[in-house]
């Protein structure tokens, strides 16, 4: 009996030692949809995270990092219960990730109540940019409107005379179309929203043709992007109408399924493989080496978010003092983005340069040639946010 006791005591002591050692590390919560319809996005978020940590030798702010992953399934109720697990059982220091806007909204309040710093790497719903902005919520990816805003300005600059707009019938679709039309300035000759799950776009494309426009702006992500782009090209409209969109329409997860139909599509994006800084070229090279295709913008933004957190942790001297960390996340001067110019607005959403890019065919596949840069794009909701720190 006595020996058992001693052994138990030793084990307990060892256990305590491990726990106290763990407290000196950074515990990073990572939440993304790893299954379900958004799993493609979730996987690329994870790839961006893993590559960034690999480049940082498994350390954040100089301290060893443990990643605790959670699968939100793009479902708000799953996300909130996973969040309480991460906070109460895993004691995470910072949360990162989030692809779906509904999940972003659902976890905002419980995370704020717990005072947990969150770095959103992909989602950026307008409510959190406006009235519901909070000092622990940081958005390193984008605000949805930035894409549409940049493309609207570009189409105006290029002198598109008659514009037709189409989008998927849900929140992001309306936002992307409205933002583009707003900065384009003119009226659209026609505007159509198509329901989720629609596979045939022939009736809508016939209407676009008969309207005689010279530009068509659309928002279709994921599988709708493949069917839309292919049907657009097959309809013969490609020779009459320039197709404008946002990066998601022709991103690396869909472009190989679109094939030559994607060539010529002009889109707005936060990131591009051709952005020339050494950090970006290293990210690009190692991502392609590991996964056999170019990274998506989701991967790039998550990579950036890890680097952003790393710089802030260095400045704050770890994650234990949360106010110091939030202050460092706000004034993060040492951070070098793999995108263009990047800083945070007073609502913690980025002010960033947007890239206007066009799909070109190369020997081995396709690339996004940079046509223009639209500098310093912010979002339209910052005035509704009452936070003050600048």
């Amino acid at each position: 009996m006595k020996t058992t006791h001693t052994v138990l005591k030793c084990m307990l002591a060892a256990g305590l030692a491990i726990t106290s050692a763990a407290q000196a590390e950074i515990k990073l919560g990572f939440m993304a949809p790893m299954s379900g319809p958004l799993s493609i996005t979730g996987q690329d978020l994870r790839r961006g995270l893993d590559l960034a940590l690999e480049h940082l030798d498994g350390k954040l702010g100089g301290e060893t990092v443990t990643v605790v992953a959670a699968n939100d399934q793009a479902n708000p109720s799953v996300a909130t219960s996973e969040l309480s697990r991460l906070i109460e059982q895993e004691n995470i220091d910072v949360l990162m990730g989030i692809a779906a806007s509904n999940v972003a909204l659902a976890i905002a309040q419980p995370a704020t109540q717990a005072g947990l710093p969150v770095l959103y790497t992909h989602a950026g719903p307008d409510a959190l940019a406006g009235k519901q902005c909070a000092k622990n919520l940081f958005f390193i990816g984008h605000q949805n409107d930035q894409y549409g805003d940049a493309m609207g300005r570009y189409m105006k600059q290029e002198g598109v005379k008659n514009l037709y707009a189409m989008g998927l019938d849900y929140q992001a679709g309306w936002e992307m179309v409205d933002a583009a039309l707003k900065s384009y300035g003119g009226e659209a000759k026609g505007k159509v929203y198509t329901p989720m799950g629609q596979v045939d776009f022939a009736p809508e494309l016939s209407r676009v043709r008969s309207s005689g426009v010279d530009g068509l702006y659309v928002f279709y992500p994921g599988s709708a992007a493949v069917s839309f782009v292919r049907q657009f090209a097959a309809s013969g409209l490609k020779n009459q109408v320039q197709l404008y969109s946002v990066g998601a329409l022709v991103d690396p997860t869909v472009i190989s399924a679109q094939g030559d139909a994607a060539v010529g599509v002009i889109s707005a994006n936060t990131w591009n493989a051709g952005i020339e800084n050494p950090e970006n070229q290293r990210f690009l090279k190692d991502f392609v080496k590991e996964h056999g295709r170019e990274p998506t913008t989701f991967a790039a933004q998550t990579y950036d978010a890890v680097m952003y957190l790393d710089a802030a942790l260095r400045k704050a001297g770890g994650a234990k003092d949360r106010d110091a960390l939030i202050d460092a996340l706000r004034h993060n001067d040492e951070f070098k983005s793999i995108r263009g110019n990047f800083k945070l607005n007073k609502n913690h959403f980025p002010i960033q340069d947007m890239v206007i890019q066009q799909v070109e065919k190369t020997d081995g596949g396709y690339q996004q040639k940079i046509l223009a840069k639209i500098e310093g794009i912010a979002d339209n909701y910052v005035d509704q946010c009452e936070m003050k720190w600048q």
Binding site: D200, A202, P203, A224, V226, A257
Partner: protein, 295 residues
């Protein structure tokens, strides 16, 4: 709307309707003859597209077609033998649960084998581009081609059912299964044949739709919902009803979308247009639950 645009939209509706016919005729045939509700029919549609375009990318379009059809037939034979056969005498609820499970399994298998990112579906060069029908009306060659193939397949299935011995047995089996069985016909074999015919039609639809839609896990499912609408409207088990209902659903869906704009009636118009075919189904269920085109 100009005359040319109207004509183009009618063509769109016809083509969509014929595609729905190819997908739903298998479901209705299987239901009519074997009294089996098969939710996994969309999986055969999906598998055919994956087989065809994976093989097509490697060995060219023609061989891809062969692999797609042969592969789907092989899967259908195995599926009938291993699973479907045991569901014939079960209740409809068991059949729905069983085949729904199959659908989930196939979707996950495809995700494991091909990944979750969509694959490329090639079209032969001579089918890309568009044809001038008359005046200013150009129509995509590929869409015309699949309309043609669908018409030929429709005629072939009609000839098979009305002019051949096996077709006669299928029709007899649909009306009086026990009588056919008591006449010494191997009903198990007959059912397997019907299941495979349904699979071939689903495969044809999947192969032809592949280049227009997104070849990824789960692509058959949204179309299967429309196929179920077609079956309700046309009357379960009726081939003629299935054809008429497919064309009706295809036309209504296309024309309602051809007319409505985003802000029409404050967005209510677009809600109505995406509901149109389901409203039709509701009306049929209320007023003529046996289907519009059954006796």
């Amino acid at each position: 709307m100009s005359f040319a645009l109207l004509l183009e939209q009618l063509l769109n509706g016809l083509q969509f309707g014929l595609m729905l016919f190819l997908l739903s005729v298998g479901v209705t045939l299987i239901f009519g003859v074997m009294n089996l509700v098969n939710i996994s029919h969309g999986s055969l549609f999906m598998l055919a597209a994956f087989f065809t375009y994976t093989a097509g990318a490697r060995w060219g379009y023609g061989l891809g077609l062969l692999v797609g059809l042969a592969g789907t037939i092989a899967v259908a034979v195995l599926l009938e033998w291993l699973v479907i056969r045991h569901l014939y005498r079960k209740s409809h609820l068991d059949q729905v649960l069983g085949t729904f499970g199959l659908m989930l399994i196939f979707n996950e298998l495809v995700r494991i084998v091909w990944g979750s990112e969509p694959i490329f579906a090639l079209t032969p060069d001579w089918l890309s581009g568009s044809v001038q029908l008359f005046g200013t009306l150009y129509y995509p060659t590929y869409r015309l081609a699949i309309t043609g193939v669908a018409i030929i397949a429709g005629i072939a299935i009609w000839l098979l059912l009305s002019r051949t011995r096996i077709g006669m047995l299928v029709r007899a089996g649909a009306d009086k299964r026990e009588t056919v069985e008591s006449l010494g016909v191997n009903i198990n074999f007959l059912f397997a044949v019907v299941f495979v015919i349904g699979a071939v039609l689903a495969a044809l639809a999947g192969i032809m739709m592949g280049p227009l839609i997104t070849v990824e896990s789960g692509i058959g499912d949204p179309l299967l919902i429309l196929a179920l609408v077609v079956i309700v409207v046309g009357g379960a088990g009726s081939i003629k009803g299935c054809l008429a209902a497919s064309l009706l659903v295809g036309m209504i869906d296309t024309l309602s979308r051809a007319l409505v704009t985003a802000d029409f009636a404050g967005g209510a118009g677009r809600a109505l247009s995406s509901m149109s075919v389901y409203l039709l189904m509701l009306g049929v269920l209320l007023l003529r639950p046996q289907g519009l085109f059954t006796r």
